[in-house]
Amino acid sequence: MVYRITAEADRQHIEEFRANPIAPHSPGLQRMLNIMRTWTGGDQYILIARVEFAEFVIGRMPEHREDPIVVEEDMVFATREEAEWELFCRRWKQHTGESLNMPLKDEA
């Protein structure tokens, strides 16, 4: 059994990821991300660049290549970081049951 993510123990890492989704992460955040990102079968999330460096959507790649990639066209992101945050929120809910109702960046 690997480390189990819980809201109580891991809530401390949320702000670190939200502030900088792609950066050197603290050991605690990196452990959580490694567990969140470990593929356990089924679809795998991917980042689809509709326009490189400008427009992204999330896709889900099926387990077998014979099946088509599912593209989530309803959510469009201007940056990779926005998409990373959206996926983080989904995985946080999957692991803890909690919804993170906040954007990547706080409004100025």
Binding site: W39, A49, R65
Partner: protein, 758 residues
């Protein structure tokens, strides 16, 4: 999605020669083409942007086009085998590897259009079937129990095409407790119409393609006249050349012969040899491999298997679309045929840059050419050709430490597995891709390609990362020639001899023995090597005269391996050479470049800190105008000059003792990981945040013949060259080294005095 793609018939050509380009359109009937010099292929808005220079040529203008397809999947064809008109028995050993798909042809004399002949196949789930077809219709006998994946079986199939009798015996080589995989069934089917020729692992389709491929190994197939049982199969395998069979053999294939060729040798009296198409994997251990020998040259009788894959591809074989006549005065350098079929938008990319290099004229002599040569690492480009681990493997998001990027080309790649994989990928059946060919579209060997693998930011890798160097050379006004790895393999030391300085690409990882020998000889004769990347001279690959344009790799006993060769399959089929890491062959990268691979991580890059050796008078020329303590804390590839893959000095592995450690990178993250050949016992701290081995050593050293080696030791280095309008310490160090290396004055070979003078 990508709407246009293609490939050239060669990766290099001299001015005045003709290069044929094969182009395929997903939409429309015409495309525009133009020859361009490739200067900068990275579209990152933080960098200099795309730079191409149009070169007028006969290719300029509009050309007719249309879709061209690849017929992937390997198979054997033996057209001289006569149609079966009397009872016969088909024997083979078989190792199935993809049971979840059905309709896999094992052997057949079958006409798909008329549904006639006989065919032995594997059905979905692993059951073997025998189908007979003729005027009386089509009937199939299916084995009552499936085979187990990746287990050897002996198949004995008897067919009487006149009476329609079919008998199927299936026996596992290794019996397992509670397993139920032995079959002995028979049925009266229908008379089989005579169909000449023997097909194995694939079937000719009415549309001209070959389909219904088999995934797995086949060993020792034979057609014997008359009705026989499994006992004869046992005798045949234990007594090769049994004289009692001489009058009965129709064809008997021994795949352990001519392993380095596409030939399937019939050892029977009629010599009805077959041909293996689309590069199935040879030199594969057969059902009888014992481990007694690991080399197919030493014990060929243990290597009688061919591993067929439904997604093998060697030569796409497309019709040429453009015959580009290279202008006679065209300078050597990186070029591409830019093809486009309309404006690109968020849904589709409608242009491609079909890359190739223009080489100096053949027989170029010293003094007639520029003194600088760029060795285009085309073996590495080919090794990574259509690198699809983001599709074929899982765990890529973990390795990248961020979401897996898919651009339009990646979406196209996903939908078109027939493009064939890279040497990093696995086939559909999970076995490793051991061959890679350039005779097919290579979607990541092109300017503009944004890789899922490169560091955050530009995310360029291999070819497109090397355009950072093309751009810098252009910006700095250097005149240089280009040859490719393949040229070096074929031409050897003579091709390097005219040059004083060789610059590598960012990631020159794959080398054949002839390439390695030529480069080492050139360095030992006084050449000056500028190793502009990391993870160089890592894997040994092989070329083949029988398969021009293809290379082979065995991912043997060590190294970063996305797949691992089966024990006993470490020797190249192309050459018989032992494959794997150069380090495990006694030629670590350090012997060539002064540094060797030590760590990899793909999220962000770091910087170098000046080391004490930087103040050595021998290195003064390198740091002229660079007083900085910190070097390369900027860049398009992960934000720093030290990243992606790192090398360091290690005299135990062959780094010359006089190498100076000029600067060392630091502050890498936990995902910059020590490579596995660096430890025997797994240490608890592999990441760069805790492991002091994880670092790049910028290095310099003189060679005994008055030459020198400079190593950046980092793939990310070239991504920093253009920072601040090319005015930065990475650019200045590179320029300082190149300036001195182009100076014909020999480097000192005797110990220096305290004043730094010889």
């Amino acid at each position: 999605m990508l709407k246009i793609t293609g490939y050239p018939d060669r990766l290099s050509a001299a001015a005045g020669e003709t290069v044929n380009f094969m182009v395929s359109l997903e939409e429309g009937e015409r495309f525009d083409a133009r020859l361009v010099r490739v200067i900068h292929g990275d579209c990152n808005p933080e960098g200099p942007g795309l730079k191409f220079r149009h070169v007028p040529s006969n290719a300029d203008g509009s050309h007719p086009g249309g879709p061209q397809r690849i017929d992937a999947g390997s198979y054997m064809s033996a057209p001289s085998v006569p149609a079966a008109t009397g009872p016969f028995t088909f024997y083979t050993m078989i190792w199935p590897t993809l049971l979840r798909l059905g309709n896999q042809t094992i052997a057949a004399q079958w006409d798909e259009a008329s549904q006639s002949g006989w065919r032995v196949a594997m059905e979905k789930g692993g059951a073997v079937s025998v189908t007979l077809g003729g005027p009386g219709g089509v009937k199939t006998l299916t084995g009552s129990r499936p085979m187990v994946e990746r287990q050897w079986y002996a198949l004995c199939i008897h067919v009487d095409p006149v009476s329609g009798l079919a008998v199927l015996d299936q026996a596992p080589v290794v019996p397992y407790a509670l397993a139920d995989d032995t079959v002995s069934v028979q049925a009266q089917l229908v008379p089989a119409a005579p169909v000449p020729g023997l097909a194995m692992a694939g079937l000719a389709m009415p549309d001209g393609t070959v389909g219904a491929h088999f995934d797995g190994k086949i060993d020792g197939p034979a057609l014997i006249a008359g009705r026989h049982g499994p006992d004869l199969h046992d005798r045949m395998m234990t007594r090769p050349g049994d004289p009692s069979l001489r009058r009965a053999v129709i064809a008997q294939y021994d795949f352990s012969k001519k392993i380095d060729t596409p030939e399937a040798v019939d050892i029977g009296p009629f010599a009805r040899h077959g041909r293996l198409e689309n590069l199935p994997t040879r030199g594969m251990k057969g059902w009888n491999w014992t481990g007694e020998s690991h080399s197919w040259r030493e014990k060929p009788e243990h290597y009688g298997a061919v591993h067929f894959h439904s997604d093998d591809v060697y030569d796409a074989g497309w019709t040429p679309s453009v015959a580009l006549e290279l202008p006679a005065d065209l300078p050597s350098g990186p070029y591409a045929l830019h093809v486009s079929c309309g404006p690109s938008d968020r849904e589709a990319t409608r242009e491609d840059y079909l890359s190739f290099f223009v080489t100096p004229p053949k027989g170029a002599k010293r003094g007639e050419r520029p003194r600088l040569l760029f060795l285009a690492p085309t073996c590495s480009y080919m090794a990574y050709a259509n690198h699809g681990e983001h599709i074929t493997a899982r765990g890529v998001e973990l390795q990248m430490n961020r979401m897996v990027h898919f651009g339009h080309s990646d979406l196209y790649m996903y939908d078109h597995p027939e493009l064939g994989g890279s040497l990093y990928d696995t086939h559909l059946d999970g076995s490793g891709v051991a061959y890679s060919s350039r005779l097919r579209p290579i979607l990541n060997f092109t300017a503009q390609y944004h890789s899922w693998l490169g560091g955050h930011g530009s995310a360029v890798y291999q070819y497109n990362a090397d355009t950072h160097l093309f751009d810098w050379l252009e910006q700095m006004g250097y005149d240089y020639d280009v040859i490719t790895d393949e040229d070096l393999h074929e031409g050897g030391l003579d091709l390097l001899a005219p040059y004083d300085v060789v610059m590598t690409g960012t990631h020159p990882e794959y080398h054949s023995t002839r390439m390695w020998d030529a480069m080492k000889a050139w360095i030992d004769r006084g050449g000056r090597l500028m190793y502009m990347g990391g993870n160089g001279w890592y894997w040994r690959v092989a070329f083949s005269d029988h398969y021009p344009g293809a290379i082979e790799l065995r991912r043997a006993e060590d190294g970063i391996r996305p797949w691992i060769s089966e024990p006993g399959e470490y020797y190249h089929s192309f050459t018989g050479e032992y494959g794997g890491l150069w380090r495990r062959i006694g030629r670590a990268p350090n012997v060539m470049a002064g540094v060797g691979f030590v760590a990899q991580g793909f999220d962000f890059s770091s910087y170098y800190r000046r080391a004490p050796d930087a103040d050595n008078p021998r290195a003064a020329f390198i740091f002229e105008g660079v007083p900085d303590e910190i070097i390369g804390d900027f860049g398009l590839v992960g934000g720093g000059a030290a990243g992606i893959e790192l090398d360091c000095i290690n005299t135990d592995l062959g780094s010359p003792p006089n190498m100076l450690r000029l600067a060392t990178s630091e502050l890498h993250g936990s995902m910059m990981l020590l490579v596995n050949e660096e430890f025997g016992v797994v240490p608890p701290a592999l990441g760069g945040d805790q492991n002091m081995q994880v670092r790049a050593d910028m290095a310099f050293g003189e060679t005994p013949a008055g030459g020198a080696i400079f190593a950046t030791a980092s793939i990310a280095w070239c991504g920093s060259l253009s920072h601040n309008g090319y005015d930065n310490n990475v650019s200045r160090i590179t320029g300082n080294v190149l300036k001195r290396f182009l100076d014909p004055a020999p480097f000192p070979t005797a110990p220096l005095g305290k004043d730094g003078q010889a």
